[in-house]
Symmetry: C2
Amino acid sequence: MGETSRDRQREATRQRLYEAALGIFRRDGFRDARVDDITLVAGVSRTAFYFHFPTKEDVLTELIRRTEAPIAVAVSELHPDAELPTVLETVTDWLTRTWQDERALIVDTMAIGLRVESATSPEANPNGLRAQLAARFERAVQNGVLHDAQRPAALADLYLLNCMSAMASWAQGEGRGLIEALQLANQLFLNGARRRLG
Amino acid sequence: MGETSRDRQREATRQRLYEAALGIFRRDGFRDARVDDITLVAGVSRTAFYFHFPTKEDVLTELIRRTEAPIAVAVSELHPDAELPTVLETVTDWLTRTWQDERALIVDTMAIGLRVESATSPEANPNGLRAQLAARFERAVQNGVLHDAQRPAALADLYLLNCMSAMASWAQGEGRGLIEALQLANQLFLNGARRRLG
DNA sequence: ATTATCTATAGATCTATAGATAATGC
DNA sequence: ATTATCTATAGATCTATAGATAATGC
């Protein structure tokens, strides 16, 4: 049941296709990217692409999975009693580092994330970012930091969707840094937009 | 410069294609919808579709424009001093009425909205929903109801993106009503998720 | 021998564009 | 006569699937 030569071969081909696809997406844009160009770079037949990725979108789905994984790890490694702002700041910092030089891919990736994130259950991956965040939010509810009116998992999803929206918006505008856009999302999520009077 | 017979003819064809496309999208899903099926229903040649809509996505872009317009009007007709929660409630009510029976179209439409909304400037349509909301937010800042740290237009965009995220999430989950999902977005936007202590 | 990985091929669908028709404005 | 609207057609691209090859496990 160890990794066979066939497994290594398959993964190597898949990885070449993955990298080639992202390269073509960056060059031509996701929509105008041709599978033929991808497979030309990867050095395989056209249909090999479809063997590994049912559609072009699945490449970006994998990009989401790969970039989310280290963020989930970073959150899981925070102190169990870390304050919620610290948790969100960690997410924000990682998202910024991951995406600020990938502007060309952000909008399409986030549009796909909008589907994937809400089409799959967080329990599908208990170590994933959504589950990690939901656990942190649950703890915050227990500690009285968050309202208990909403399911922690629902709050976690909405928070992540807010981050994705903010990133998509940033990628298309000519505003300030990505970090500022995400910090605004954090601030709104934690404190709302309303000014406290008195 | 009045409306000619040619204008009427073009608009009639465009309208037939628009309705036929939405019907096929509802039946087959946006991605699996075939342009041939659309033009069969509309009674025109295949390429007539592309004359009116460069891509299938443009049909949903038009759906966004058409459904946003009456909401923008409703907001503009509110009393100039209407409180912000009232404004957001108006948006939420309209979105709910518009979309709660169009579940099949929501996710794809919102994914496209994510691009369109952030790719175009609000000033492009001064009577549009984004501009209307930005004006309301600006007034709220002047009245001291909102923090003045963020540009009203940026807040308006983020608010609308939050609504779209909430709708996409609702459309795919089996949660409660759409209105509740949007009210959560409103509540978070206005008050944040953090519990006020003391 | 069986199966996973990849290739070759046929048919479906889309995209670009040349051409037909009828309305328009001079 | 010119132009806008729509059609017909050719070529590009995608999708489904049959087939080839080589690794695997018995």
